[in-house]
């Protein structure tokens, strides 16, 4: 395999912007109403790690245990590094990182179906204005720009298939879509054939670009822009092929994150964050435990625990947690009531998430559920409140920043929700 040379990695954001701009008008701040604010944001190098436990992790077997109660289930709660905060016993390693984390135990959202729920949560459940809102990753890609990685701003590491998912971007347009690496692998055909030197490659690409410019002279620009975008992305990606080679990392790192898909994908995510990618999403599937909920969680949560705790530890050690916002959540929680299949069903009424970094308060719990865990007893927070909070942590004022959708101003977070101040340091 022909790998690229180290000097090729010194690709600045300017180059990335420049090359994409040639095809697409750039990942610019063109449809934001406050370009000056956007310029400041770019300098801060804020990043996001978004961990998605698809299907719905049980809050009772993770962040909000209720041992010894009617619906508590068989698992115990354990103390954490923060006195007074207890989490489920299947999270021993994360418990030792609790002083870096913030738990939200008062989520109350509106959708209890997967198909609608995943998109609804990740789009921030905005007010219906007849447009499709971007996923959080596309929104951040838009608002923060691509960072210094020379890679697209929104990357998704997931089991299964990969590819470019333009649908995530909604009205922002396909270029803010998400580049997914299926099974954490780079896409096929990423390496130049031996017969083509780097110089030859640049020469043929330039010829191609000139042809496209001539073709588009009297035609709608869309086709040429879209083609230019994927060719540019292919080039950017090829130059960072090194990132995918986890064998270059110390054996100890690989052990700490765990010898399983989620562990490997989290380690890869750390690499992408270190490389400067703005938004990295990692998915884990199979959390929809309608049957055998407790065995499933006893099997799956420890794997999560291992990789998640290792990630927090590493972000702290590298001083990155000040700039990286870590969020871990699902589309909803699970019912306190245990069903006939020893499972728990969908429960958007009272559930939890964990977050950290980027100025979030450390070692706190926000919100409370009742003794049975069935409902929230403090103020209920919808996903819109979280969007307000996350944007604020990223240095984006959700009340002042708006998208400009072809002249239609659109708020970046639900206007009926607000920042959760207790989460901000």
């Amino acid at each position: 395999m022909k790998l690229c040379k180290p000097w090729e990695h010194n690709l600045s954001r300017r180059q990335w912007l420049g090359s994409v701009a040639a095809g697409l008008g750039g990942l610019s701040f063109g449809n934001l109403l406050q370009p000056a604010v956007a310029d400041q944001l770019k300098k801060k190098n804020k990043q996001v790690l978004f961990i998605w436990l698809d299907g719905g992790i049980s809050q009772l077997e993770s962040w909000d245990p209720k041992p010894g109660t009617q619906f508590g289930g068989p698992l115990r709660a354990i103390p954490t590094s923060v006195p007074g905060i207890h989490i489920s016993e299947v999270l021993p390693k994360t418990a030792r990182q609790m002083h870096h984390l913030a738990l939200v135990r008062s989520l109350c959202t509106k959708d209890n179906s997967h198909s609608a729920g995943v998109a609804r949560i990740q789009r921030g459940d905005p007010k219906n204005r007849g447009v499709t809102y971007p996923f959080f990753g596309s929104a951040v890609a838009k608002l923060l720009g691509p960072g210094d990685s020379g890679l697209p701003p929104y990357i998704w590491i997931k089991p299964g298939s990969g590819g470019f998912k333009h649908q995530d971007a909604g009205f922002l347009g396909p270029k803010y879509g998400c580049l997914a690496f299926g099974d954490g692998k780079p896409p096929e055909n990423l390496v130049l054939p031996n017969s083509i030197s780097e110089e030859d490659n640049q020469a043929r690409l330039l010829l191609r670009k000139k042809l496209d410019q001539r073709y588009a002279a009297r035609r709608p620009k869309r086709s040429v822009e879209a083609t230019g975008f994927v060719f540019d992305m292919a080039e950017q990606l090829r130059k960072r092929l090194d990132l995918f080679d986890l064998n270059k990392l110390p054996e100890k790192d690989r052990e700490r994150y765990g010898n399983h898909d989620f562990g490997r994908h989290m380690l890869l995510a750390r690499r992408f964050l270190e490389a400067g990618v703005t938004f990295v999403k990692v998915n884990s599937y199979g959390w929809d435990t309608h049957g055998d909920n407790f065995n499933a969680h006893m099997n799956m949560v420890p794997k999560f625990d291992q990789a998640f705790a290792a990630m927090i530890e590493d972000l702290v050690a590298r001083g990155m947690l000040d700039n990286v916002l870590v969020i871990c959540m699902s589309e909803f929680g699970r019912t306190p009531r245990i069903n006939g299949h020893v499972g728990r069903d969908h429960w958007p009424e009272a559930w939890s998430l964990v977050m950290a970094g980027c100025g979030a308060k450390r070692g706190v719990v926000v919100g409370k559920t009742n003794d049975k865990g069935t409902f929230v007893t403090t103020e209920e927070y919808d996903i819109g409140h979280m969007f307000h909070t996350w944007f604020t942590l990223l240095g984006i004022d959700p009340n002042k920043t708006e998208y400009d959708n072809d002249g239609q101003p659109l708020p970046i977070a639900h206007p009926d929700c607000h920042v959760v101040k207790e989460l901000i340091a």
């Binding site: 298939s161 590819g163 470019f164 333009h166 580049l179 896409p187 096929e188 055909n189 990423l190 390496v191 130049l192 054939p193 017969s195 083509i196 030859d200 020469a203 043929r204 690409l205 010829l207 191609r208 000139k210 042809l211 496209d212 001539r214 073709y215 588009a216 009297r218 035609r219 709608p220 086709s223 040429v224 879209a226 083609t227 975008f229 994927v230 060719f231 992305m233 292919a234 990606l237």
Partner: protein, 529 residues
């Protein structure tokens, strides 16, 4: 002096006389143009495409491949004013037409779920004999075949009845697809309640259609063959918004519920199933046979068919999206859709005839370049040609044609098959996603950039593109190159760009390969404009 009113009367008389003396309405192609222009609202239409643009488009649409360099040269040199019409006839009766139609209908009907040799044979032979569309629909929808010729037809069902992993066979998905593909209505969101946004789509329509399939099962995926169990129970349903229990037997949307005859247990079959022979038997009353009989009688059937054939040629439906025919999503040209449907039925669902009429219209033959001084493209106006998606198969054939490797590769069926699977992997949508618009993908770009199979086609071999170019002097290269790959002559600038490039490079073959690659990777090559 003749008074104006009298003059007007005489004019009417003359028009009437001419009309009745020819005793026929103008050809459909002209009526298409009149109806499209009537809706232009003063907007300028693009001029007609030049011969090169027309030729490439007609080849891609009707033969599924770009023309060879010889064919292109001959057509451009031909001074016959009727050469376009002759070319359309030639392509419609040519050997590539059935293959192209089989590819298009396969992608449309199966949406990349998989393939089957018998199914391909069925499609190919049907288009080779220009089988009427209503007959094809009946053969596909009845789910049953008793002749060698239609043996592959049940694949439409059998593939959809296969189970994927732990998932049960997707009956709601099958119901939805029959509605979408044969009637142009997507009833998915009317499964559990009346459609929330589309008033015309009722839960009862979905459930009535669903009732046809409740007793269908996969008999043998290899054959392919499906079976039907006796219909004993109507479908019961409740809207999630209500409490009233309703029930329905099989019913095609917009038509009457079908009476299901009662047979005593054991007497339902005209021919009993035989497990040893994998024979599913024949019911005395088969809901699928009724479905096959009734769907083509629905008004929606012809309208959906002509809309999809219009899309094939024009890149967009008169009703768009193609599977959302309803009153809130009206056709862009209602009279045109009515006319096409009426004429299609009058011509006995003759696909080839309809495609020929569309191809001869000026509307089809317009340039994809916007009219002078116009910046905005109005897709639903059909005043400028759409840049159409080139499917994975069209792209494969065209890359082979352009590189001069078509004949050589065609001699080995295995060569085409393996290349096709590479192109499908790189350029087709994932299963169950319709292929409607040009949407370049990262994997497609990477394939063209770096896959060895593409590079191999640029290695000089006797008579192929790079070999031919290598034997030409620098000032003749551009013409051969552009005509072979882009089916047009180069501009003066392009000619000097090629000459300059060759002059700069020491390795001439390599330089020719790079020039050829750049054309193959260009947007101009990868869309049907």
């Amino acid at each position: 002096m003749i008074r104006p009113a009298v003059r007007f009367g005489m004019a009417l008389f003359v028009v009437g006389f001419l009309w009745s003396s020819t005793r026929a309405a103008p050809p459909l192609s002209e009526r298409i143009d009149a109806l499209v222009m009537a809706k232009a609202n003063g907007r300028a239409a693009s001029p007609l495409a030049d011969d090169a643009e027309f030729l490439r488009r007609a080849y891609l649409d009707l033969a599924g491949v770009i023309p060879s360099v010889q064919e292109a040269r001959a057509f451009l040199d031909d001074t016959d004013p009727g050469k376009r019409a002759k070319m359309i006839d030639k392509l419609l009766s040519g050997p590539d037409y059935p293959r192209r139609m089989a590819e298009f209908f396969h992608v449309m009907l199966m949406e990349r779920r998989g393939d089957h040799a018998q199914w391909q044979e069925y499609l190919h032979s049907s288009f080779a004999q220009n089988k009427p569309w209503d007959q094809m629909a009946r053969e596909i929808l009845c789910g049953f075949s008793d002749s060698k010729e239609t043996r592959g037809a049940p694949f439409f069902y059998s593939k959809r009845l296969e189970r994927y992993g732990q998932n049960p066979a997707d009956y709601p998905g099958l119901t939805r697809d029959v509605g979408r593909m044969f009637l142009g209505i997507d009833l998915q969101c009317a499964q559990c309640h009346n459609h929330v946004h589309i008033k015309d789509y009722k839960q009862a329509d979905y459930q009535g259609l669903f009732a046809f399939f409740t007793n269908v099962y996969l008999n043998d995926p290899k054959m392919p063959s499906i079976g039907e169990r006796p219909f004993t129970k109507k479908v019961e349903f409740v809207s999630v918004f209500g409490f009233t229990k309703k029930q329905t037997g099989p019913r095609v949307p917009g038509m009457k519920e079908i009476e299901v005859p009662n047979y005593k247990q054991g007497e339902e079959y005209a021919r009993k199933p035989d497990n040893k022979k994998k024979d599913p038997g024949r019911l005395k009353f088969s809901p699928l046979s009724k479905l096959a009989e009734q769907v083509p009688q629905s008004d929606a059937f012809a309208r959906n068919a002509v809309n999809r054939l219009w899309f094939l040629m024009m890149g967009r439906g008169i009703v768009h999206p193609l599977d959302l025919h309803h009153s809130k999503n009206p056709p862009s040209h209602p009279e045109l859709l009515d006319l096409l449907a009426k004429e299609f039925v009058a011509h006995k669902y003759d696909i080839k005839w309809l495609l020929g009429e569309i191809a001869r219209s000026q509307t089809y033959q317009r340039s994809s370049m916007l009219p002078e001084n116009q910046k905005v493209f109005q897709p639903e106006s059909f005043l400028t040609a759409h840049e159409k998606l080139i499917g994975a198969e069209q792209l494969m054939w065209s890359v082979l044609q352009a590189t001069g490797e078509l004949e050589r590769t065609r001699q080995f069926a295995a060569g085409i098959d393996s290349l096709r699977s590479l192109f499908v992997k790189a350029f087709a949508n994932p299963p169950k996603e319709p292929e409607i618009e040009f949407n370049p993908s990262l994997k497609g770009a990477l394939f063209i950039l770096n896959n060895n199979a593409v590079q191999q086609l640029l290695v000089p071999r006797p008579g192929n593109l790079v070999d031919r170019l290598s034997k030409l002097p620098d000032d003749k290269v551009a013409e051969e190159l552009y005509l072979s790959v882009l089916t047009r002559l180069p501009t003066a600038d392009e000619k000097s760009e090629v000459e300059d490039y060759l002059a700069q490079k020491t390795d001439r073959v390599k330089a020719l390969q790079q020039l050829a690659w750049a054309l193959l990777a260009s947007t101009e090559f990868c869309v049907n404009h």
